[in-house]
Amino acid sequence: MPIGHYLVLSGLLFSIGAAGVFLRRNLITLLMSVEIMLNAVNLTFVAFGRQFGEVDGQIITFFVMTVAAAEAAVGLALVIGLFRHRESLNPEAFTTLKW
C-alpha cells in the first residue's frame, strides 16, 4: 500500500476535524473534532514508523494518546464548569469578558 494513500487519508481526516472545530456550535462536538485531528496525526506517525521499520512511530502515538486523554478530561471539566454558569454550550454565549 503506497505511503501516499495513508498521507492523503490523514490529511483528509485532519481537514474534516478542522472543519468541525470551525463550524460546530457545540462545545462537546468541538472537542470531538479536536480528537479527530489528533487521530489523523497518529495515523501519519504510525504509517511513517512502519515505512522506516522503526518502533518510534508507535511510541510517539502512545504519548499523543495519553496527552489527548488528559486534555479531554480537563476540557470536559471546563465544559461542565462553563455550563453550570451560563446554561449553554454554544461558544458564542461566552463572548463577553464579564464572568
Binding site: P2, I3, Y6, F22, N26, T29, V46
Partner: protein, 175 residues
C-alpha cells in the same frame, strides 16, 4: 496483495464517513457514536500497518475510555440538540461571519494538503517495501522504558495533574 488494498479502502471509508457524520450531525449522541465507529476504522488501519498492540490500545483508550467520558458528560448535562433555527437559515452565505471564514479556512487547508502532497516525492513507495515491521510488544516496551524513559515519567505526572485539575474544576461549589 489485493485484499490488503481492499481492506485499506474499507477501513478508510469507515473512518472518513464516521468523521463526516461527527461534523455534520446535530444530535451530540449520534456524533459520539459515529466517532466511535471512526475509531474502529482507525483500529483496522493500525492492524494493516502491523501495529496490533497500538490498534487494541486505541480501542481501549479512545473508544473505551475517552468516548465514555464524553458520553457521561453529554448525559449528565443533558445536552440539547443544536438549535434547529440556526441551522435552518440554511444557506452558508447567511451564516455568521466567523462561520463563513472558518468554513473557507477548512477548505483552504484541505486544498493546501492536496497541493503539498502532490509536490512530495516518494509518495508511491510501499509502506511494507522497506525494513520489516517491529510489532512485538516486548520490543515496544523495551524501547519505551529505555530511550523514552523521561517522557514516560513526565507523562505520568501529566496524568496526575490532569486528574486533580479535572476534579477541582468540575467539583460542585458548596455555597
Amino acid at each position: 496483495m489485493a485484499s490488503d488494498a481492499l481492506l485499506f479502502y474499507v477501513f478508510a471509508a469507515v473512518t472518513v464517513i464516521g468523521s463526516l457524520v461527527v461534523v455534520s450531525q446535530r444530535n451530540p449522541v449520534y456524533s459520539l457514536l459515529s466517532l466511535v465507529g471512526a475509531f474502529f476504522g482507525l483500529c483496522g488501519l493500525y492492524v494493516l500497518l502491523e501495529a496490533p498492540f497500538l490498534a487494541v490500545v486505541q480501542i481501549i483508550v479512545y473508544a473505551g475510555a475517552i468516548m465514555v467520558l464524553f458520553l457521561f458528560v453529554v448525559m449528565v448535562l443533558n445536552v440539547p440538540r443544536e438549535d434547529a433555527a440556526e441551522w435552518d437559515r440554511a444557506h452558508p452565505l447567511y451564516r455568521p461571519m466567523a462561520v463563513r471564514v472558518g468554513g473557507a479556512l477548512a477548505v483552504l487547508l484541505a486544498l493546501e494538503f492536496g497541493w503539498a502532497l502532490s509536490k512530495t516525492s516518494g509518495m508511491s513507495i510501499g509502506v511494507a517495501d522497506g525494513k520489516p515491521a517491529v510489532s512485538s510488544v516486548g520490543e515496544l516496551g523495551r524501547i519505551l522504558f529505555t530511550d523514552y524513559m523521561f517522557a514516560f515519567e513526565v507523562t505520568s505526572i501529566l496524568i496526575i495533574a490532569a486528574m486533580v485539575g479535572a476534579v477541582v474544576i468540575a467539583r460542585k461549589r458548596d455555597e
